[in-house]
Protein backbone atom coordinates (compact mmCIF):
# COMPACT_ATOMS: atom_id res chain seq x y z
CA UNK A 1 0.00 0.00 0.00
CA UNK A 2 1.41 3.39 -0.96
CA UNK A 3 -0.18 6.16 1.09
CA UNK A 4 0.18 9.57 -0.48
CA UNK A 5 0.55 12.50 1.89
CA UNK A 6 0.76 16.06 0.69
CA UNK A 7 0.12 19.66 1.59
CA UNK A 8 -3.52 20.40 0.85
CA UNK A 9 -2.98 24.16 0.91
CA UNK A 10 -0.83 23.99 -2.21
CA UNK A 11 -3.00 24.96 -5.18
CA UNK A 12 -4.78 22.16 -7.01
CA UNK A 13 -5.53 22.36 -10.67
CA UNK A 14 -9.18 22.09 -11.67
CA UNK A 15 -10.45 20.76 -15.00
CA UNK A 16 -9.98 23.46 -17.58
CA UNK A 17 -7.01 25.14 -15.80
CA UNK A 18 -3.88 25.46 -17.89
CA UNK A 19 -1.68 22.47 -17.16
CA UNK A 20 -4.51 20.32 -15.84
CA UNK A 21 -4.45 17.91 -18.75
CA UNK A 22 -0.65 17.46 -18.54
CA UNK A 23 -0.90 16.88 -14.78
CA UNK A 24 -3.65 14.30 -15.09
CA UNK A 25 -1.90 12.79 -18.10
CA UNK A 26 1.14 12.03 -15.94
CA UNK A 27 -1.05 10.23 -13.39
CA UNK A 28 -2.92 8.26 -16.06
CA UNK A 29 0.39 7.25 -17.61
CA UNK A 30 1.64 6.13 -14.21
CA UNK A 31 -1.53 4.11 -13.65
CA UNK A 32 -1.16 2.54 -17.06
CA UNK A 33 2.45 1.58 -16.31
CA UNK A 34 1.32 -0.12 -13.08
CA UNK A 35 -1.35 -2.03 -14.98
CA UNK A 36 1.03 -3.06 -17.74
CA UNK A 37 3.71 -4.12 -15.25
CA UNK A 38 1.23 -6.32 -13.40
CA UNK A 39 1.50 -4.19 -10.24
CA UNK A 40 -1.95 -2.60 -10.25
CA UNK A 41 -4.44 -3.71 -7.61
CA UNK A 42 -6.35 -0.49 -6.90
CA UNK A 43 -5.83 3.17 -6.22
CA UNK A 44 -7.72 6.42 -5.74
CA UNK A 45 -7.37 10.11 -5.16
CA UNK A 46 -9.32 11.20 -2.09
CA UNK A 47 -11.50 14.30 -1.67
CA UNK A 48 -9.86 16.96 0.55
CA UNK A 49 -9.80 16.47 4.34
CA UNK A 50 -12.45 19.20 4.71
CA UNK A 51 -14.81 16.41 3.68
CA UNK A 52 -13.50 14.01 6.34
CA UNK A 53 -15.45 12.64 9.26
CA UNK A 54 -13.66 10.76 12.00
CA UNK A 55 -15.17 8.17 14.30
CA UNK A 56 -13.29 7.84 17.58
CA UNK A 57 -13.90 4.47 19.15
CA UNK A 58 -13.65 3.83 22.86
CA UNK A 59 -14.29 0.41 24.25
CA UNK A 60 -17.75 0.16 25.82
CA UNK A 61 -18.92 3.55 24.57
CA UNK A 62 -20.79 4.74 21.53
CA UNK A 63 -18.46 6.07 18.78
CA UNK A 64 -17.77 9.78 18.97
CA UNK A 65 -18.30 11.40 15.59
CA UNK A 66 -15.89 14.25 14.86
CA UNK A 67 -15.76 16.67 11.98
CA UNK A 68 -12.41 16.63 10.19
CA UNK A 69 -9.42 14.36 9.60
CA UNK A 70 -7.74 12.05 12.09
CA UNK A 71 -4.58 14.11 12.42
CA UNK A 72 -4.23 17.86 12.03
CA UNK A 73 -0.92 18.07 10.25
CA UNK A 74 0.42 20.03 7.34
CA UNK A 75 0.67 16.96 5.17
CA UNK A 76 -2.61 15.14 4.78
CA UNK A 77 -3.47 11.73 3.46
CA UNK A 78 -4.73 12.45 -0.01
CA UNK A 79 -4.75 9.24 -1.98
CA UNK A 80 -3.41 5.73 -2.22
CA UNK A 81 -2.29 2.92 -4.42
CA UNK A 82 -2.61 -0.73 -3.58
CA UNK A 83 0.07 -2.41 -5.64
CA UNK A 84 1.52 -5.84 -6.03
CA UNK A 85 5.30 -5.92 -5.56
CA UNK A 86 7.83 -8.68 -5.03
CA UNK A 87 9.55 -6.91 -2.14
CA UNK A 88 10.20 -3.52 -0.53
CA UNK A 89 12.84 -2.50 -3.06
CA UNK A 90 10.40 -3.02 -5.95
CA UNK A 91 7.71 -1.08 -4.06
CA UNK A 92 10.18 1.80 -3.46
CA UNK A 93 11.09 1.86 -7.15
CA UNK A 94 7.40 1.99 -8.13
CA UNK A 95 6.67 4.72 -5.58
CA UNK A 96 9.59 6.79 -6.87
CA UNK A 97 7.90 6.94 -10.26
CA UNK A 98 4.75 8.64 -8.92
CA UNK A 99 4.34 11.98 -10.71
CA UNK A 100 4.76 14.06 -7.54
CA UNK A 101 7.41 16.63 -6.72
CA UNK A 102 6.61 17.21 -3.05
CA UNK A 103 4.91 15.42 -0.18
CA UNK A 104 5.65 12.03 1.31
CA UNK A 105 4.80 8.49 0.39
CA UNK A 106 4.39 5.89 3.08
CA UNK A 107 4.81 2.30 1.98
CA UNK A 108 3.21 -0.32 4.19
CA UNK A 109 2.71 -4.00 3.55
CA UNK A 110 -0.84 -5.27 3.75
CA UNK A 111 -0.86 -7.67 6.70
CA UNK A 112 -3.68 -9.87 5.50
CA UNK A 113 -5.17 -10.33 2.08
CA UNK A 114 -8.29 -12.46 1.79
CA UNK A 115 -7.18 -13.67 -1.62
CA UNK A 116 -3.75 -14.82 -0.44
CA UNK A 117 -3.03 -18.49 -0.11
Amino acid sequence: MILIHGDESSPRLAPGDPGFDEDMGAWFAYNQSLIEGGHWVSGANLAPTSSATTLRLTSGQAPEIVDGPFAETKEQFGGYYLISAENLDEAIELAKKLPMDSGSLEIRPVAFRPDAG
Partner: protein
Protein backbone atom coordinates in the same frame (compact mmCIF):
# COMPACT_ATOMS: atom_id res chain seq x y z
CA UNK B 1 43.39 -32.52 22.93
CA UNK B 2 42.21 -29.03 22.30
CA UNK B 3 42.16 -26.53 25.16
CA UNK B 4 39.02 -24.56 25.82
CA UNK B 5 40.92 -21.32 25.11
CA UNK B 6 41.85 -22.63 21.66
CA UNK B 7 38.25 -23.61 21.03
CA UNK B 8 36.95 -20.23 22.17
CA UNK B 9 39.45 -18.53 19.84
CA UNK B 10 38.45 -20.69 16.90
CA UNK B 11 34.74 -20.10 17.53
CA UNK B 12 35.25 -16.33 17.77
CA UNK B 13 37.20 -16.40 14.53
CA UNK B 14 34.50 -18.47 12.87
CA UNK B 15 31.79 -16.08 14.09
CA UNK B 16 33.67 -13.01 12.86
CA UNK B 17 34.92 -14.31 9.54
CA UNK B 18 32.35 -16.76 8.31
CA UNK B 19 29.05 -16.45 10.15
CA UNK B 20 27.85 -13.55 7.98
CA UNK B 21 28.33 -15.53 4.80
CA UNK B 22 26.74 -18.65 6.28
CA UNK B 23 23.84 -16.58 7.58
CA UNK B 24 23.24 -14.97 4.19
CA UNK B 25 23.33 -18.34 2.48
CA UNK B 26 20.87 -19.91 4.94
CA UNK B 27 18.58 -16.88 4.77
CA UNK B 28 18.42 -17.14 1.03
CA UNK B 29 17.77 -20.85 1.15
CA UNK B 30 15.18 -20.80 3.93
CA UNK B 31 13.77 -17.31 3.42
CA UNK B 32 13.80 -16.47 7.12
CA UNK B 33 16.56 -14.24 8.46
CA UNK B 34 15.41 -14.52 12.05
CA UNK B 35 15.30 -18.32 12.14
CA UNK B 36 18.59 -18.56 10.25
CA UNK B 37 20.25 -16.17 12.70
CA UNK B 38 19.00 -18.19 15.67
CA UNK B 39 20.27 -21.39 14.09
CA UNK B 40 23.73 -19.88 13.44
CA UNK B 41 23.94 -18.56 17.01
CA UNK B 42 22.93 -21.96 18.37
CA UNK B 43 25.49 -23.71 16.20
CA UNK B 44 28.25 -21.38 17.45
CA UNK B 45 27.30 -22.17 21.03
CA UNK B 46 27.22 -25.88 20.20
CA UNK B 47 30.74 -25.62 18.75
CA UNK B 48 32.16 -24.74 22.18
CA UNK B 49 31.33 -28.22 23.48
CA UNK B 50 31.25 -30.21 20.23
CA UNK B 51 34.79 -29.19 19.29
CA UNK B 52 36.37 -30.59 22.44
CA UNK B 53 37.30 -33.71 20.50
CA UNK B 54 38.93 -31.55 17.82
CA UNK B 55 38.34 -28.47 15.73
CA UNK B 56 36.90 -29.39 12.32
CA UNK B 57 39.05 -28.91 9.28
CA UNK B 58 36.52 -26.63 7.60
CA UNK B 59 34.75 -24.74 10.40
CA UNK B 60 32.57 -22.77 7.96
CA UNK B 61 31.22 -25.94 6.37
CA UNK B 62 30.64 -27.36 9.86
CA UNK B 63 28.74 -24.19 10.87
CA UNK B 64 26.65 -24.26 7.72
CA UNK B 65 25.75 -27.94 8.09
CA UNK B 66 24.83 -27.74 11.77
CA UNK B 67 22.71 -24.60 11.35
CA UNK B 68 21.06 -25.97 8.22
CA UNK B 69 20.15 -29.21 9.98
CA UNK B 70 18.55 -27.21 12.80
CA UNK B 71 16.46 -25.30 10.27
CA UNK B 72 15.44 -28.44 8.43
CA UNK B 73 14.42 -30.05 11.73
CA UNK B 74 12.31 -27.01 12.50
CA UNK B 75 10.66 -27.16 9.10
CA UNK B 76 9.95 -30.85 9.58
CA UNK B 77 8.46 -30.24 13.01
CA UNK B 78 6.51 -27.36 11.62
CA UNK B 79 5.25 -29.47 8.76
CA UNK B 80 4.41 -32.36 11.10
CA UNK B 81 2.41 -30.08 13.36
CA UNK B 82 0.68 -28.60 10.34
CA UNK B 83 -0.17 -32.08 9.16
CA UNK B 84 -1.66 -32.92 12.55
CA UNK B 85 -3.59 -29.65 12.52
CA UNK B 86 -4.75 -30.37 8.98
CA UNK B 87 -6.07 -33.78 10.03
CA UNK B 88 -7.84 -32.28 13.02
CA UNK B 89 -9.24 -29.20 11.31
CA UNK B 90 -8.91 -29.37 7.51
CA UNK B 91 -10.99 -26.23 6.94
CA UNK B 92 -8.41 -24.10 8.80
CA UNK B 93 -5.44 -25.29 6.84
CA UNK B 94 -6.86 -25.75 3.37
CA UNK B 95 -4.64 -23.01 2.00
CA UNK B 96 -1.55 -24.19 3.79
CA UNK B 97 -1.03 -27.59 2.25
CA UNK B 98 2.67 -28.27 2.24
CA UNK B 99 4.18 -27.21 -1.01
CA UNK B 100 7.86 -27.02 -0.21
CA UNK B 101 9.83 -29.94 -1.52
CA UNK B 102 12.00 -32.11 0.65
CA UNK B 103 15.04 -30.48 -0.83
CA UNK B 104 18.01 -31.42 1.31
CA UNK B 105 20.83 -31.55 -1.13
CA UNK B 106 24.14 -30.55 0.28
CA UNK B 107 25.23 -27.11 -0.76
CA UNK B 108 28.90 -27.19 -1.35
CA UNK B 109 30.70 -24.54 0.63
CA UNK B 110 32.79 -23.09 -2.10
CA UNK B 111 34.13 -19.87 -0.65
CA UNK B 112 35.10 -18.45 -4.03
CA UNK B 113 31.62 -18.62 -5.50
CA UNK B 114 29.88 -17.34 -2.40
CA UNK B 115 31.60 -13.98 -2.07
CA UNK B 116 28.53 -11.98 -2.89
CA UNK B 117 26.43 -13.73 -0.24
CA UNK B 118 28.33 -11.63 2.27
CA UNK B 119 27.79 -8.50 0.19
CA UNK B 120 24.06 -9.22 0.04
CA UNK B 121 23.93 -9.37 3.82
CA UNK B 122 26.01 -6.21 4.28
CA UNK B 123 23.71 -4.36 1.88
CA UNK B 124 20.62 -5.66 3.66
CA UNK B 125 22.02 -4.47 7.02
CA UNK B 126 22.55 -1.00 5.48
CA UNK B 127 19.19 -0.85 3.71
CA UNK B 128 18.00 2.78 3.53
CA UNK B 129 14.66 1.79 5.07
CA UNK B 130 16.51 1.20 8.37
CA UNK B 131 17.74 4.07 10.49
CA UNK B 132 21.46 4.71 10.85
CA UNK B 133 21.88 3.32 14.38
CA UNK B 134 20.09 0.15 13.33
CA UNK B 135 22.28 -0.17 10.24
CA UNK B 136 25.37 0.03 12.43
CA UNK B 137 24.02 -2.49 14.96
CA UNK B 138 22.93 -4.97 12.29
CA UNK B 139 26.19 -4.70 10.36
CA UNK B 140 28.25 -5.55 13.43
CA UNK B 141 25.88 -8.18 14.72
CA UNK B 142 24.82 -10.02 11.53
CA UNK B 143 27.58 -9.34 9.01
CA UNK B 144 30.41 -8.88 11.51
CA UNK B 145 29.46 -11.80 13.72
CA UNK B 146 29.73 -9.88 17.00
CA UNK B 147 27.44 -10.88 19.82
CA UNK B 148 24.72 -8.49 20.95
CA UNK B 149 26.69 -8.06 24.19
CA UNK B 150 29.82 -7.05 22.30
CA UNK B 151 28.00 -4.54 20.09
CA UNK B 152 26.23 -3.11 23.15
CA UNK B 153 29.54 -2.78 25.00
CA UNK B 154 31.14 -1.05 22.04
CA UNK B 155 28.38 1.52 21.84
CA UNK B 156 27.94 1.89 25.61
CA UNK B 157 24.31 0.80 25.36
CA UNK B 158 22.45 -1.54 27.67
CA UNK B 159 22.40 -4.98 26.06
CA UNK B 160 18.59 -5.05 26.26
CA UNK B 161 18.39 -1.86 24.19
CA UNK B 162 20.67 -3.27 21.54
CA UNK B 163 18.82 -6.59 21.45
CA UNK B 164 15.50 -4.78 21.10
CA UNK B 165 16.88 -2.72 18.21
CA UNK B 166 17.99 -5.87 16.42
CA UNK B 167 14.72 -7.70 17.06
CA UNK B 168 12.75 -4.73 15.69
CA UNK B 169 15.00 -4.52 12.65
CA UNK B 170 14.65 -8.21 11.89
CA UNK B 171 10.88 -7.88 12.20
CA UNK B 172 10.86 -4.96 9.78
CA UNK B 173 13.06 -6.87 7.35
CA UNK B 174 10.52 -9.70 7.41
CA UNK B 175 7.27 -7.70 7.49
CA UNK B 176 8.24 -5.01 5.01
CA UNK B 177 9.72 -7.59 2.66
CA UNK B 178 13.24 -6.21 2.44
CA UNK B 179 15.04 -8.37 -0.10
CA UNK B 180 18.39 -10.09 0.37
CA UNK B 181 19.52 -9.16 -3.11
CA UNK B 182 22.12 -7.00 -4.72
CA UNK B 183 20.11 -3.92 -5.75
CA UNK B 184 20.02 -2.57 -9.27
CA UNK B 185 21.25 0.83 -8.10
CA UNK B 186 24.35 -0.47 -6.39
CA UNK B 187 26.23 2.86 -6.10
CA UNK B 188 23.59 4.46 -3.89
CA UNK B 189 23.56 1.47 -1.54
CA UNK B 190 27.33 1.14 -1.43
CA UNK B 191 27.49 4.78 -0.31
CA UNK B 192 25.29 3.91 2.67
CA UNK B 193 27.36 0.83 3.41
CA UNK B 194 30.65 2.76 3.33
CA UNK B 195 29.17 5.45 5.56
CA UNK B 196 28.19 2.82 8.13
CA UNK B 197 31.65 1.24 8.03
CA UNK B 198 33.26 4.66 8.49
CA UNK B 199 30.93 5.38 11.42
CA UNK B 200 31.99 2.11 13.04
CA UNK B 201 35.63 2.99 12.44
CA UNK B 202 35.23 6.46 13.92
CA UNK B 203 33.43 5.14 16.94
CA UNK B 204 36.47 2.97 17.58
CA UNK B 205 38.93 5.75 16.75
CA UNK B 206 37.51 8.41 19.02
CA UNK B 207 35.41 6.59 21.54
CA UNK B 208 32.87 8.58 23.43
CA UNK B 209 33.41 6.69 26.64
CA UNK B 210 36.27 6.54 29.08
CA UNK B 211 36.64 2.77 29.25
CA UNK B 212 37.83 2.28 25.71
CA UNK B 213 40.35 -0.40 26.70
CA UNK B 214 37.59 -2.85 27.58
CA UNK B 215 35.64 -2.24 24.41
CA UNK B 216 35.53 -4.37 21.32
CA UNK B 217 38.13 -3.20 18.87
CA UNK B 218 35.83 -1.46 16.45
CA UNK B 219 38.74 -0.19 14.39
CA UNK B 220 39.80 -3.73 13.53
CA UNK B 221 36.19 -4.73 12.86
CA UNK B 222 35.62 -1.81 10.52
CA UNK B 223 38.83 -2.53 8.63
CA UNK B 224 37.95 -6.21 8.33
CA UNK B 225 34.47 -5.46 6.98
CA UNK B 226 35.82 -2.79 4.63
CA UNK B 227 38.32 -5.33 3.28
CA UNK B 228 35.41 -7.68 2.55
CA UNK B 229 33.60 -4.95 0.64
CA UNK B 230 36.75 -4.16 -1.35
CA UNK B 231 37.17 -7.87 -2.15
CA UNK B 232 33.60 -8.14 -3.32
CA UNK B 233 33.39 -4.80 -5.14
CA UNK B 234 36.82 -4.50 -6.72
CA UNK B 235 35.55 -1.81 -9.08
CA UNK B 236 34.62 0.60 -6.30
CA UNK B 237 37.33 3.24 -5.99
CA UNK B 238 35.67 4.75 -2.93
CA UNK B 239 35.56 1.42 -1.06
CA UNK B 240 39.30 1.03 -1.52
CA UNK B 241 39.79 4.73 -0.70
CA UNK B 242 37.97 4.17 2.58
CA UNK B 243 40.14 1.14 3.32
CA UNK B 244 43.28 3.24 2.70
CA UNK B 245 41.94 5.98 4.96
CA UNK B 246 41.24 3.52 7.77
CA UNK B 247 44.66 1.89 7.39
CA UNK B 248 46.45 5.26 7.57
CA UNK B 249 44.62 6.25 10.74
CA UNK B 250 45.06 2.83 12.28
CA UNK B 251 48.80 2.85 11.55
CA UNK B 252 49.14 5.90 13.78
CA UNK B 253 46.76 4.81 16.52
CA UNK B 254 49.50 3.43 18.82
CA UNK B 255 50.96 6.91 19.34
CA UNK B 256 47.75 8.90 19.75
CA UNK B 257 47.53 8.42 23.50
CA UNK B 258 50.44 8.66 25.93
CA UNK B 259 51.19 6.43 28.92
CA UNK B 260 48.89 8.53 31.11
CA UNK B 261 45.97 8.23 28.73
CA UNK B 262 46.26 11.78 27.39
CA UNK B 263 45.68 12.52 23.72
CA UNK B 264 48.89 13.35 21.83
CA UNK B 265 48.56 15.80 18.94
CA UNK B 266 49.78 14.65 15.55
CA UNK B 267 52.78 16.98 15.56
CA UNK B 268 54.01 15.62 18.89
CA UNK B 269 53.50 11.95 18.08
CA UNK B 270 56.50 9.64 18.02
CA UNK B 271 56.63 8.83 14.33
CA UNK B 272 58.94 5.88 14.90
CA UNK B 273 55.96 4.27 16.65
CA UNK B 274 53.82 4.36 13.51
CA UNK B 275 53.11 1.03 11.85
CA UNK B 276 55.13 1.15 8.63
CA UNK B 277 53.54 -1.98 7.17
CA UNK B 278 50.13 -0.40 7.66
CA UNK B 279 51.25 2.81 5.96
CA UNK B 280 52.80 0.86 3.08
CA UNK B 281 49.59 -1.08 2.54
CA UNK B 282 47.54 2.13 2.77
CA UNK B 283 49.78 3.76 0.13
CA UNK B 284 49.26 0.79 -2.18
CA UNK B 285 45.49 0.75 -1.59
CA UNK B 286 45.20 4.47 -2.23
CA UNK B 287 47.27 4.22 -5.39
CA UNK B 288 45.13 1.34 -6.62
CA UNK B 289 41.92 3.29 -5.85
CA UNK B 290 43.14 6.40 -7.65
CA UNK B 291 44.07 4.55 -10.84
CA UNK B 292 40.33 4.02 -11.35
CA UNK B 293 39.89 7.76 -11.98
CA UNK B 294 36.69 7.96 -9.93
CA UNK B 295 37.46 10.50 -7.21
CA UNK B 296 35.33 10.77 -4.10
CA UNK B 297 35.46 12.08 -0.55
CA UNK B 298 37.02 8.95 1.00
CA UNK B 299 39.87 9.03 -1.48
CA UNK B 300 40.49 12.73 -0.84
CA UNK B 301 40.52 12.12 2.93
CA UNK B 302 42.90 9.21 2.36
CA UNK B 303 45.24 11.47 0.35
CA UNK B 304 45.25 13.90 3.29
CA UNK B 305 45.91 11.10 5.79
CA UNK B 306 48.65 9.86 3.45
CA UNK B 307 50.37 13.28 3.50
CA UNK B 308 50.52 13.05 7.30
CA UNK B 309 51.52 9.40 7.46
CA UNK B 310 54.30 9.74 4.91
CA UNK B 311 55.86 12.91 6.37
CA UNK B 312 58.98 11.84 8.25
CA UNK B 313 58.79 14.77 10.66
CA UNK B 314 55.93 17.10 11.52
CA UNK B 315 57.87 19.89 9.82
CA UNK B 316 57.94 17.91 6.56
CA UNK B 317 54.15 18.00 6.30
CA UNK B 318 52.93 19.73 3.14
CA UNK B 319 50.26 21.88 4.77
CA UNK B 320 49.65 23.92 1.63
CA UNK B 321 48.65 20.77 -0.27
CA UNK B 322 46.50 19.62 2.65
CA UNK B 323 44.66 22.97 2.79
CA UNK B 324 43.98 22.63 -0.93
CA UNK B 325 42.66 19.05 -0.45
CA UNK B 326 40.30 20.18 2.31
CA UNK B 327 39.07 22.83 -0.12
CA UNK B 328 38.36 20.07 -2.65
CA UNK B 329 36.59 17.98 -0.04
CA UNK B 330 34.42 20.96 0.89
CA UNK B 331 33.47 21.44 -2.75
CA UNK B 332 32.38 17.78 -3.00
CA UNK B 333 30.06 18.19 0.01
CA UNK B 334 30.03 21.52 1.89
CA UNK B 335 30.63 20.76 5.55
CA UNK B 336 31.63 22.95 8.50
CA UNK B 337 33.93 20.30 10.01
CA UNK B 338 35.88 20.09 6.77
CA UNK B 339 36.15 23.89 6.83
CA UNK B 340 37.50 23.64 10.39
CA UNK B 341 40.20 21.25 9.20
CA UNK B 342 41.00 23.57 6.32
CA UNK B 343 41.47 26.38 8.83
CA UNK B 344 44.02 24.26 10.72
CA UNK B 345 45.92 23.46 7.53
CA UNK B 346 45.94 27.13 6.53
CA UNK B 347 47.18 28.07 10.02
CA UNK B 348 50.01 25.56 9.66
CA UNK B 349 50.90 26.79 6.18
CA UNK B 350 50.41 30.55 6.58
CA UNK B 351 50.36 31.17 10.35
CA UNK B 352 47.72 31.16 13.10
CA UNK B 353 46.16 34.48 12.11
CA UNK B 354 45.30 33.20 8.62
CA UNK B 355 43.69 30.14 10.24
CA UNK B 356 41.74 32.26 12.74
CA UNK B 357 40.38 34.34 9.86
CA UNK B 358 38.84 31.17 8.38
CA UNK B 359 37.50 30.11 11.79
CA UNK B 360 35.85 33.49 12.33
CA UNK B 361 33.72 32.99 9.23
CA UNK B 362 32.56 29.53 10.38
CA UNK B 363 29.09 29.05 11.80
CA UNK B 364 27.21 26.11 13.25
CA UNK B 365 30.06 24.56 15.25
CA UNK B 366 29.47 26.27 18.58
CA UNK B 367 28.61 22.98 20.30
CA UNK B 368 31.49 21.07 18.70
CA UNK B 369 34.42 20.64 21.07
CA UNK B 370 37.07 20.49 18.36
CA UNK B 371 36.00 23.91 17.10
CA UNK B 372 36.83 25.45 20.49
CA UNK B 373 39.96 23.33 20.96
CA UNK B 374 41.24 24.44 17.56
CA UNK B 375 40.37 28.04 18.22
CA UNK B 376 42.20 27.84 21.58
CA UNK B 377 45.28 26.40 19.91
CA UNK B 378 45.39 29.05 17.19
CA UNK B 379 44.76 31.87 19.68
CA UNK B 380 47.59 30.58 21.88
CA UNK B 381 49.93 30.40 18.88
CA UNK B 382 48.96 33.93 17.90
CA UNK B 383 49.81 35.05 21.46
CA UNK B 384 46.21 35.86 22.37
CA UNK B 385 44.17 34.68 25.42
CA UNK B 386 43.13 31.07 24.80
CA UNK B 387 42.19 29.46 28.14
CA UNK B 388 38.45 30.17 27.79
CA UNK B 389 38.34 28.30 24.46
CA UNK B 390 40.10 25.26 25.95
CA UNK B 391 37.71 25.32 28.92
CA UNK B 392 34.74 25.48 26.58
CA UNK B 393 36.06 22.54 24.56
CA UNK B 394 36.70 20.48 27.69
CA UNK B 395 33.10 20.96 28.78
CA UNK B 396 31.88 19.59 25.43
CA UNK B 397 33.82 16.32 25.18
CA UNK B 398 33.31 13.08 27.07
CA UNK B 399 36.50 11.41 25.86
CA UNK B 400 38.83 11.16 28.86
CA UNK B 401 42.07 11.48 26.89
CA UNK B 402 40.82 14.64 25.25
CA UNK B 403 39.60 16.09 28.54
CA UNK B 404 43.02 15.68 30.11
CA UNK B 405 44.74 17.28 27.16
CA UNK B 406 42.36 20.26 27.14
CA UNK B 407 42.60 20.69 30.90
CA UNK B 408 46.39 20.94 30.64
CA UNK B 409 46.22 23.40 27.72
CA UNK B 410 43.74 25.55 29.63
CA UNK B 411 46.08 25.62 32.66
CA UNK B 412 49.12 26.40 30.50
CA UNK B 413 47.42 29.32 28.78
CA UNK B 414 45.58 30.87 31.70
CA UNK B 415 46.82 34.06 33.30
CA UNK B 416 49.83 34.07 30.97
Amino acid sequence: MTTSAEIADAVTRLAREESGRVLALLTRRFGDLDAADDAVQDALTTALTAWQSGIPERPAAWLYTVARNTLIDELRRDRASRRRLHEAAPELTAHHATTETEEEDDLIMDASSLGDERLRLLLLCCHPALDRDTQVALTLRLAGGLSAAEVAAAYLLPEATLTQRIVRAKRKIRDAGMPLTIPANLDERVDALLRVLYLIFNEGYLSRGAEHVTRVDLITEAIRLTRQVVDELPASAEAEGLLALELYHHARSGTRVDGLGELVLLEHQDRTGWNLDGITEANARLHSAMTRMAPGPYQVQAIIAGHHANARTAADTDWGAIAELYGQLGRMAPNAVVELNRAVAIAMADGPRAGLAVLDRLTGLNEYHLFHATRGELLARAGRPAAASFERARGLTSNEGERRHLERRAAETSGG
